[in-house]
């Protein structure tokens, strides 16, 4: 299994969080685990960057947070996308996929030489 990366570029983390929230409203821990599951062990989401990214998206109006109760009664902050957030999610996905394509093309050329 490849080594897990724990540094995700800031913009990329925002795009990943938005993509996960497009599918369902989730709390912070669940967002992190969902991303790690999708990455199949190649990614480790650091809490030090996840919560600031979520709060930044909240500040920008891309996500909104509501308090719910966990099964044991503790307070849980659940995030969901706003209308502006859905637009941001689409834009961020297109932007990062384009970057990935470009890097793939550029780096593959270097590898062939």
């Amino acid at each position: 299994m490849p080594r897990a990366r724990d540094v995700v570029p800031r913009g990329a983390l925002r795009a990943l969080v938005l993509a996960v929230l497009e599918e369902a409203d989730l709390h912070g821990y669940a967002i992190g685990r969902k991303l790690e599951e999708r990455a199949r062990g190649t990614l480790r989401i650091r809490e030090g960057s996840l919560y600031p990214a979520l709060h930044e998206l909240e500040l920008e109006g891309a996500v909104e947070a509501t308090w719910k109760r966990a099964p044991d009664g503790r307070r849980r902050r659940v995030y969901s996308l706003t209308r502006a957030g859905r637009r941001s999610a689409k834009g961020a996905r297109a932007e990062w996929l384009a970057v990935a394509d470009m890097l793939q093309a550029l780096l593959a050329v270097g590898e062939r030489r």
Partner: protein, 208 residues
């Protein structure tokens, strides 16, 4: 779990962020740790170790939260007061040194004052305003006016109101020469430039 909660409380209490945000951060991190512990129990691992590991690098978390959280408490009124104070200082400084080096010194001073008094994370606040769904006003639909827009317009237009007042005051005292230095327009151009760029970016994202 009690020990962990105490550690969390100590950490959050020591953060330099607004008190109401501390409560939110504490509950959110406590839930995060509890989730990590529950997952560890399910997987047959040590819940205490999992709880501690879940907190990760507290120094990095502190840096990020302290830079971000104060922006949540910025209201339009707060932004307006900041804008008034900044614009009075800009007006005074440019009135005194606006002509030095063809206005370059005055322009730099105006930018520095506007930046120093700007609400924390003002660009994020501006993007939030511009990307929010338009609201229906009396005459047309438009973006909601949030703290960043309030600050921008106040700091940009405030100095001109002061200068108009000064021109009138000086005219009443027999001084009729009114020269406005180029630097007086630098801040206005910068604020309008930032607004234009962010509006275009917001539109592009909306189209995408």
């Amino acid at each position: 779990m009690v020990v962990m909660r105490d550690e969390l409380e100590r950490f959050v209490t020591s953060l330099s962020i607004p008190a109401d945000r501390k409560a939110i951060v504490l509950d959110e991190l406590a839930d995060h740790v509890a989730c990590a512990r529950e997952a560890a129990v399910r997987d047959g691992l040590d819940p205490d170790a999992a709880g501690r590991a879940a907190l990760g690098d507290l120094a990095a978390l502190r840096r990020s939260l302290e830079a971000l959280e104060p922006a949540f408490t910025i209201t339009r009124r707060n932004a307006f007061v900041r804008g008034i104070v900044a614009s009075l200082l800009v007006a005074f400084v440019i009135d005194r040194i606006g002509f030095v080096m063809l206005g370059v010194v005055g322009a730099i001073a105006a930018f520095a004052i506007a930046a120093a008094f700007a609400p924390p994370r003002v660009l994020e606040l501006l993007r939030a305003d511009l990307r929010a769904p338009p609201i229906r006003g009396r005459f047309h639909r438009g973006v909601p006016i949030g703290p960043a827009i309030v600050y921008g317009y106040t700091v940009m237009s405030g100095p001109f109101l002061v200068w108009i007042g000064l021109i009138v005051y000086r005219a009443l005292h027999g001084f009729y020469l009114a020269d406005v230095p180029n630097s007086a327009f630098a801040l206005m151009a910068a604020v309008l430039g930032v607004l234009a760029v962010e509006m275009i970016r917001a539109r592009r994202k909306a189209v995408a």
